[in-house]
């Protein structure tokens, strides 16, 4: 019991740290945004690119399923950003703005280049780019990790996208809702559905392994 407790406290602290990190990033984006808008600061532009492009590329990849194409779309997004730099001060949440543009560019790309374009998000095939930990980190078998991976892939498309945005890119429900043009409640439900489905795959007999794992760690 005691060790459970330590474990929980431990992981909760980790989480506090994570969310602080995300807040930090958001502040950072604000500063970069200002520098680009006011001074056309190339350095700030570069920092912003380096900060956001990996996540944005992952996001685009989910739509277009090609790494090169995703990178090109992200590049287009940043070209657009540079073009509208004079108007950046008016943009409240730059991250949401960039994701929204990225999504629109992806949809345009799909409409142009796919034979049977499906441009309704609910029907689109989304390739999830969600990373899990290694079996060792998770203290579960590799087999279970595969099953979870599979489960995420089989979630309804919209649910996959929502889960990816919230978990992977650290979006708030409000931000994710804005990007995808759905309601906050829908986001909340989709995240819940994904979490519940994954939870069902985490074996119930786990506690003993987990217990020894924690004990040896502490």
């Amino acid at each position: 019991m005691f060790f459970y407790f330590i474990g929980c406290i431990f992981s909760e602290c980790y989480f506090c740290y994570l969310s602080v990190d995300i807040l930090h990033t958001n502040d950072n984006i604000k500063i970069l945004q200002q520098k680009i808008a006011l001074y056309e600061d190339m350095k700030a532009y570069e920092s912003l690119y380096l900060l956001l492009s990996p996540a944005l590329t992952g996001f685009c990849f989910s739509f277009v399923k090609s790494q090169d194409q995703a990178e090109e779309i992200v590049s287009d997004v940043f070209i657009k950003l540079w073009q509208v730099r004079n108007k950046l001060p008016e943009i409240e949440n730059l991250k949401v703005y960039l994701y929204t543009i990225a999504k629109n560019f992806c949809l345009n790309y799909i409409a142009r280049n796919f034979k049977n374009p499906v441009i309704r998000l609910e029907e689109m095939d989304i390739e999830p780019a969600v990373s899990l930990g290694s079996p060792e980190e998770l203290c579960i078998s590799a087999d279970t990790v595969d099953k979870i991976q599979q489960c995420i892939r089989e979630l309804p498309p919209q649910c996959r996208m929502v889960f990816q945005l919230v978990k992977e890119d650290g979006m708030s429900y409000k931000e994710a809702a804005e990007i995808l043009g759905i309601s906050v409640l829908t986001v909340r439900n989709q995240v819940f559905i994904a979490t519940r489905k994954i939870a069902a795959l985490i074996p119930a007999w786990l506690q003993s392994t987990q217990f020894t794992g924690r004990r040896s760690a502490s």
Partner: protein, 370 residues
Amino acid sequence: MTDEKLWLLVSLQLSGEATPSELAELEMLKQHDPQANARIAVMQQIWAAHNMRVTGELNKAMSFDRHLQRLSNHLGAPVLQYDDENSPENAIAINNRRRLGYRWFWIGGGIAAALILIFFQMRPGNEPGSSPKIAGNTVSTKPGSKSKIELPDGTQVWLNADSKLEYKGDFSGKNREVSLSGEAYFDVVKDKSRPFIIHTRTVQIKVLGTAFNVRSYPADKTTETALIRGSVEVTLNAQPDKKVILKPNEKVLIGDAVAESNKNTAGDAVKTTNHEAMIVSNVHVDKKDQEVYETMWVKNKLAFDETPFDNMIAEIERWYNVEIVVKNKKLSANTYTVTFENKTLDEVLEGLQFSAHFQYQLKDGVVTIW
């Protein structure tokens, strides 16, 4: 049932969306069901995994380089007057009318920009001596921005800051005619049957298929045509019988009035006519990179080659969209040769400060130099 509730609370907690009371409820449930704790811990680990996604620094830097390359290639087809339409509201609206959205958005924007410009053109009191008017499309850039456009015949045009290009809708006539105020680099598609003609306030330039740079800012008092390949024929508006045919890597400088004080390197042929000075010389090639100074702006390089101080200041004003006040008149005496690539205004001024020996201050978008 409690299980459902439990995972809902966990999902809220992990998303950072749980309220304090929800967190307290989650703690309660955990107390009642200690077995769930381990599974929750695994779930937390799964959620935390995103932090471990690492993209190599080198990889990122390379992708940024590729991006810069694309950015400079684009030079912003959409940095036209109508980029006002380009607000996030629109970006989101596109989403709702996806398929129609984008194309009509640009066409609509283009028409709006053309209408606005035609409106301005119609207004009386247009300054005399401006370029001959051609009804149709107008593309213009603001100070501080550049643009690249493709004309209906496939000709590529890079438009430098604070410039304006007008052309007839579809080039359906016998000639392909455009009129230019400011600076532009043309890469003209070959069409022997339909010459491409550029009107500026002092000259008209007739070409068949070629690449060249035209610089005709009202403030410059000169019009410069620099040829990169092919051949062009430059005719004075005032004296249609005066013609110059340029060979590759030659340029012609035409003054608005009397011949200016000679600012070209020695050995240039100087022809002075009654009203307008025509100076034919070679384009200036950077010895190190073999790049032509006249067209470096196309690659987003701010380049000066034995440029008089005042002209340089005017160029910087346009490039960065600032106002520069020069208090020290002595500075005008020198000429400067320097290239800036992707530099901020501050970096440029700092660089010049040392060779030109001046002090400067940037305040409210106005630079004061003394």
